[in-house]
Subunit: 405 residues, 2 copies
């Protein structure tokens, strides 16, 4: 039997909500190895720190003897959710799914224990699914119930299209829970509706309803939006050490405490102390951020690589002579066709396109990467391959830091 404090460490830290917490604790204390379900969209094989919050919870439970079942969503990937688009995506080929699954698993097993993980493809059950199965499944829920899901409700309200197919998505995900007899499903808190449908469906079909672990959504390096690949505010788990360390050093101070909580093993008491010292300014946030960046870099590489990344940062990046408080420029990833001259004007580094072109012609413009690498900007080419955290330097003393949109 787990102690009260061990249970608390499982159900509180890095968890937004458990439905139902009481039932989960009973399950946990029964001593039976639990089947922990996690879904994976094979059209998005990249894992970043936003996903790691949940993976760490899986790992924590594996260490108590529980079993992870990873669902390769080769069928739901066709539908997309919540897409906001009324088109389905083409079915990935078996080889594409396999390649993406291999890439995903390589990243997944950086956190999760391979020996206590079982991988199941949806095609094992949906490959044989008949129209009769679809009819049985769809007969159990109403249109109104599904239109209550936040994103559906909003799109319906705003007269934006919802394909009938999209109503199938939560049903298929729910059926996965039945197929693998899930005890606990894990998802971001924006997955609450889908996880609850699984819980209900299991009950309807005579299985013990799964418990739903809703994980907090990690805010990305921009300090504003949920971490996401498409917003460019992410730290990938396969990031090279210097980039990982550097990106974490660009975090706004407000994210230091949540990142420690969700992404490190720093004990709860120390976490509380650390939040206090940040609040009363008794610590330099830069020092805590270095500890955080070192800890996370060590997790995905090793202590040596983390040391080296820290030294690199201190030598090259901190030595770049970029002042602490330089202006920020909110830069949209979508505007990659824009030329440097236009970018300099928008970033208020030049007063007109012609003066911007003059500066570029004089070789007065430099791009300083997060890694510390400095690239001269020659001529008025399209300003491509920019990343949040990059600094544009004009002349000796004018700087602007790019931030996410």
């Amino acid at each position: 039997l787990l102690s009260q404090s061990e249970v608390q460490r499982i159900v509180r830290r890095g968890v937004r909500e458990i439905i139902s917490e009481a039932e989960f604790i009973t399950m946990l204390q029964s001593g039976r190895p639990l089947r922990l379900k996690m879904g994976f969209d094979p059209s998005r094989p990249d894992i970043h720190l936003g996903h790691v919050v949940g993976l760490r919870k899986l790992r924590q439970l594996q260490e108590l003897g529980h079993q992870v079942i990873l669902i390769v969503g080769d069928w739901t990937a066709q539908i997309g959710d919540p897409s906001g688009q009324s088109v389905t995506r083409p079915m990935l080929t078996h080889d594409e799914v396999k390649a993406n699954a291999e890439s995903y698993l390589r990243q997944f097993f950086k956190v999760v224990d391979r020996d206590r993980t079982q991988v199941e493809w949806q095609s094992q059950w949906f490959g044989q699914f008949t129209l009769a199965d679809v009819i049985r499944l769809t007969s159990r829920f109403t249109v109104a119930q599904f239109l209550e899901r936040d994103d559906f409700a909003q799109r319906f309200q705003e007269h934006r299209p919802i394909a009938i197919t999209e109503l199938l998505y939560p049903l298929l995900q729910a059926y996965d829970s039945v197929a693998i007899r899930s005890d606990v499903e894990f998802g971001g808190s924006d997955q609450k509706f889908n996880l609850l449908v699984g819980r209900q469906l299991q009950g309807m079909l005579g299985q013990t309803p799964q418990q739903c672990f809703l994980m907090p959504l990690l805010v990305g390096t921009d300090g504003v939006h949920k971490m996401s690949k498409s917003l460019g505010n992410y730290v990938a788990v396969e990031e090279p050490p210097n980039d990982m360390y550097g990106k974490l050093m660009s975090l706004p101070d407000a994210l230091i405490a949540p990142y420690f909580e969700y992404l490190t093993g720093v004990p709860d008491e120390e976490l509380a102390e650390l939040s206090r010292s940040l609040a009363d300014h008794s610590v330099n946030p830069m020092e805590l951020k270095k500890r955080l960046a070192w800890d996370i870099t060590r997790q995905f590489h090793d202590a040596g690589a983390a040391d080296a990344a820290q030294q690199h940062f201190e030598r090259v990046v901190q030595g770049r002579d970029i002042p602490e408080d330089i202006p920020q420029f909110a830069w949209a990833a979508g505007s990659a066709e824009r030329r440097w001259s236009a970018l300099l004007v928008e970033a208020k580094l030049a007063t007109s396109v012609s003066s911007a072109k003059r500066l570029l012609g004089q070789g007065a413009v430099e791009l300083i990467r997060l890694s510390g690498e400095t690239q001269p900007v020659a001529g008025d080419a399209p300003a491509q391959d920019l990343r949040p955290g990059d600094v544009i330097k004009v002349g000796k003393r004018r700087f602007v830091r790019l931030v996410g949109p």
Copy 2:
């Protein structure tokens, strides 16, 4: 090439709406044999005059060389439409569908030409339908489009459940049109939405979109509601001659003209004349009703049976000495457990339950059937097996006629 007046006879008489009439006329005049689609719900194998309106139109087109394709809806029958219930029905067994289809066809071929009819079961295509097929089909329409269908809109508005399965119904019916390459689909005007989905889907899949023939809904013998088995206001095509004739004689006068129009071959000019004479009271409606009842009885039996039914009616029913203008009692089929004493009170044939019981004890109560048969009502049993048109007689001079609810 058909003459203008022949075309008008096809597109006007007994038709509520054609989508699109112009396209249909072009198809008709092309000389190509058309594939005329009609669906059949094998959970409801009984044909009444309400269905005959459409079947007569099929026959009319068959006589010009076109081909009927009858779809046995063994898959859609599981869903039900529009059910108002969120449960699906159990799948009928193959043998049940076969038995019901045989019964249906026996009735169907009383109107439709067997030699120009092809029968197709939905299981031929839906038996092999996969989840991928369902995804492809459901991706083409939005939830909002389907919730615009009148009955869905109303139920959604009133917070009554619509199972997600029910959204599949129009899609399956539409796919039938694709599977059999339908040129024209026939349905009641309440089927407009479903027929149009078929038309759209064919277009999306590169077929020539079907034309939609929407038939008028025939009002039943109660003169109020759409003819329907569950309301008891129907005339079945397998009704014995005396019953068929008698039921038609119980029609309200307002239905004489539409029944002539939709259910007989009386020429248009004569139809106009007949409506005029009813309007200016220059004809006794009873005489026209006899002609109508004779004509329809002849269609489903023969002239000899129609003659005999007419004689029976004149001798037995008209000879029953039931006055013309007796009170009507709106009787609900659902209240079959009600005892005779209660019924007599409700019908105002007795002032109290105790006086009703006294009348029953005295043998003063009789039930006179539409066929003319008279049954004494003995004792205070539950009042079962009543039918619209039956007359309750108390003593010598008091009558009440049962009408549909």
